[in-house]
Symmetry: C2
C-alpha cells in the first residue's frame, strides 16, 4: 500500500552505509584503532575558525526573529549578493545574487535542478564512475538515467561514447569535477571540448542541453597546475551545484547553492523553474543561520593540507606496492584498480586486514575500489603495512 | 524546454508573498509604522533563551567533525531517542527514536510522507480551508488532491462531506490542528469521530487509509480546556508531521520530524519508505546543529503569551465591532468572514486603511480573510481604530 520504490530505496541500505555499520561492529570487537575505514566521504578536518567566529558574531548581532525567521525561498538577498560577488571576483562569473538559489546542500541542488528541467520522456547522462545517487535523483524526477563510461585510465569524459549515447531526449549531462570517486579534475581543455561538443548538439537539435556541474569538491585540489575551470564561462547552459560540505567541513548542516548562469537559454524562466522545484520538493528555504555563515566564510576553507598529505602518502605508497591508480588531483578519494577482476572479492580480502573500501560497482564501474582518505594521517601510516600484506597476497610487483 | 509546471509554480508568486512585498513598498512610501501587515505567519517572538544556550553549549562541547558531520539520514540517534522519550512522557506515545525521522521542517515532513505513501492513481484529501501548499505537495508526488469543505462555522472536519468524497483510491487524509488559517483546534471528540470513520473505511476497503497530522502549531493553544490530542493514540495509521518553526520561533532553520506510529499497518515498511522518499527528494539529513538544539529544547517554547494577548485583544475587539469570526483556540490566525461576498474586494477596501490580510480564496475557502496576529501587540493596538473605520464603512453593528 505504500510506494514500493520508496520502500526499496529506504530499506536497501547503501553499500557505503552497510560498510560504515560493519566498521562500527568490528571496532567494538577488535578495537577502533585496528579498523581502517576508508569507506565514507565525511570530512575529517574541523570546520575552519571562521565558521565558529561567524556563528558567534551572527548570533550576537542579529535579532532572533530576523536571524531564525524564514528567508525568501531563494535565500537571503545579502547572502546571495555576497556569494555572487565572490564568484565574480574569483572566476569572472558575471553573475548576480538573483541568479543564485540557496539550497540544503548538493543533493538538494541536484534534485531541484533536475526537477526544474525534467519533462516526461527526458533523459540525463552521467559518466561512470558516478555518485550513485544521481540515478536515484534522476529517476525520482521521472526521467531516464543513462551512464556511459568515462575514458579508460584518465576517467575524463569520453566524447565518443557520449556521441553514441546522445539523442534529442537528452535534457542534461551531469558532471562532477573534482570527481567522486576518481579524484580526477576536468581541466580547461576537457571542459572546452565538452562545451564544443554540446554546443554542436544544441545547434543540431535546436534546443538547449543543460550541463549540471556538481562541484562540492571545487576547492579540494592539491597541485598548483590543477585548476578547476568555472564551467559557465565555457558553456552557457550550465547550472553549477555547489555545497559547503567539504570546503568548510559542514556536511551535516546542509548548505549550498545553485548558480543559474544568466547567459543560459531562458535563464529567467530556468531560475523560476528552480524556485518552483524547490517549492514542490518542500525545501521552503535553506537553513537560515548557515546561509549567513556560508556567505561570511565563502571562499575560505578548512585545513585541506591534511587531505593533500594523505593523498601524497597513500598514492605514492600504494602505487609503490604495485597497485594501479589514476593520479587524483582533487577530492579525497583514490580509485584503485582491483588486482582481481571481481572488486567485491578484493574488498572481501581486504577486510581480512581490517581495510574497508567501497566497490566500484556502487559507482557504476566494476573492477575498481574507492578508498576515501579523509581520515587522520596517522591512521594511513598504521594501515600501510596491511596494504603491503594485501599486495603481497596478490603477488603485486613493488616499484621503486 | 524546462518543466512548465515547475516554472509556473516558481513564477506565480504566492498571494502571501505578493502582499508581503506590497507591504514593504507601502512602508517605504508612508512609513513602516503606518502599514499593518497581518499577512505573514512568521513568528514575532524571539526564540526562547534555551535555544541560544543550547547552541552555545553544543558548539563548545561537541568536536567540530562530529557536530557538523553527516548524521544518519533519519537523524542523530541520541536526538531521536530524546524526542521520543518526551513524546512518551507528554502524550503516552509509546514510540521509540527508531520511529522518528528528522526533517528540514514541516514542509519536508509533508513531501516526504506523501512521497512515501503515494502510488499512481492515489488521492489525498484535506479539509478546506487548508494550507495551499498541500495541493502543490500532493500533485508534486503525482497524486490527486481533493479539498472538501470543513463544517460551516466550526471549521471542524465534515464527516458527511468526507463520506461523499471517500473512495478506494484515497491513500491519505491531511489534517492540521491547531489550524492554519482558522486557529481551530480539533478536540478529543473530533479526533475520535474521525478515527472511527476512517477505521470503518479501512475495514470496508481492506487496506489502510493514512492520517497525515500536520502539527507545527501543536504548542500554540491558549486556553486551559483546549487540548491538542496526540492523534496516533486514537488512530493507528497516523504519521505526525511536526516542526519547531513556531514553538521555538525557528522557521528559517528548517527543523522538524515525522513520527511514524509504530502501531500503523506495516509500520517498519512505512518507515523505510519515509527514508526512501527523503533520499529521492535530496534531503540527506536534517541540519545537524539544529537537530541537537531541537532535541535539547523539545517541549519548551518561545513566549507564547504574546500570541495569547494578541488573540484575546483582536478577537474581542473585532467581534465587538461586528466582524464575524470563529473563536480560535490556537495557532496565530483569525479567520474572519468577509462583510461582503467577495473577500478579495474586502481585502482591497482594507488596504485603504493600510490593513493587509490574505484572502480565504488562497486557502480554498472564499468569503473569508486570514488575519495573522503574530505581530507586536502595540501594532494591533494602533490598528484597531482602522478596523473600526473599516467596520463603519460596511455598517457593521457594534456589540457590547
Amino acid at each position: 500500500m505504500i510506494n514500493e520504490k520508496m520502500y526499496g530505496l529506504g530499506s536497501r541500505r547503501s553499500a557505503i552505509r552497510e560498510i560504515f555499520e560493519y566498521a562500527k561492529r568490528r571496532a567494538s570487537e577488535v578495537g577502533a584503532e585496528n579498523v581502517f575505514d576508508f569507506s565514507i566521504g565525511n570530512p575529517s578536518v574541523p570546520a575552519p575558525a571562521c565558521v565558529d567566529e561567524a556563528i558567534g558574531r551572527i548570533l550576537k548581532e542579529t535579532p532572533s526573529v530576523e536571524l531564525h525567521g524564514y528567508t525568501p525561498a531563494q535565500g537571503d538577498k545579502k547572502c546571495r549578493d555576497r556569494i555572487a560577488a565572490n564568484l565574480n571576483a574569483r572566476f569572472g562569473a558575471d553573475i548576480s545574487g538573483d541568479d543564485l538559489y540557496m539550497t540544503c546542500g548538493a543533493a538538494a541542488c541536484l534534485t531541484v535542478s533536475i526537477h526544474a528541467l525534467a519533462c516526461p520522456g527526458d533523459e540525463f547522462i552521467a559518466f561512470a564512475p558516478y555518485f550513485a545517487e544521481y540515478k536515484v535523483f534522476v529517476e525520482g524526477a521521472g526521467a531516464k538515467f543513462t551512464a556511459i563510461p568515462a575514458e579508460k585510465d584518465t576517467f575524463l569524459p569520453d566524447l565518443e561514447a557520449l556521441q553514441k549515447a546522445m539523442n534529442r531526449s537528452v535534457k542534461g549531462i551531469i558532471i562532477n569535477s573534482p570527481n567522486n570517486p576518481t579524484g580526477v579534475v576536468y581541466g580547461e581543455e576537457t571542459v572546452r571540448k565538452l562545451a564544443r561538443f554540446l554546443q554542436e548538439k544544441e545547434k543540431e537539435y535546436g534546443h538547449p542541453v543543460y550541463l549540471i556541474s556538481d562541484e562540492p569538491y571545487r576547492e579540494l585540489v592539491y597541485d598548483e597546475e590543477a585548476k578547476v575551470p568555472y564551467v559557465p564561462r565555457y558553456y552557457p547552459d550550465t547550472l553549477v551545484c555547489y555545497s559547503y560540505s567539504k570546503s568548510l567541513s559542514l556536511p551535516g548542516e546542509r548548505i549550498g547553492y545553485i548558480a543559474v548562469n544568466p547567459r543560459a537559454a531562458d535563464a529567467k524562466a530556468l531560475y523560476a523553474a528552480v524556485c518552483g522545484a524547490g517549492r514542490v520538493l518542500g525545501f521552503v528555504c535553506a537553513p537560515a543561520l548557515f546561509q549567513r555563515v556560508a556567505a561570511e566564510c565563502d571562499g575560505k576553507t578548512a585545513d585541506l593540507g591534511v587531505y593533500r598529505r594523505n593523498r601524497d602518502l597513500l598514492y605514492r605508497r600504494l602505487t609503490d606496492l604495485g597497485f594501479s591508480c589514476t593520479y587524483p588531483d582533487g577530492a579525497f578519494y583514490l580509485f584503485v584498480k582491483s588486482p582481481e577482476p571481481d572488486a567485491d572479492a578484493f574488498c572481501e580480502r581486504a577486510r581480512k586486514y581490517e581495510l574497508l573500501f567501497v566497490s566500484g560497482e556502487d559507482f557504476g564501474c566494476p573492477g575498481y575500489v574507492r578508498i576515501a582518505y579523509c581520515v587522520p594521517t596517522e591512521c594511513i601510516g598504521r594501515a600501510l603495512p596491511r596494504f603491503a600484506s594485501l599486495a603481497a597476497e596478490y603477488g603485486l610487483v613493488k616499484k621503486g
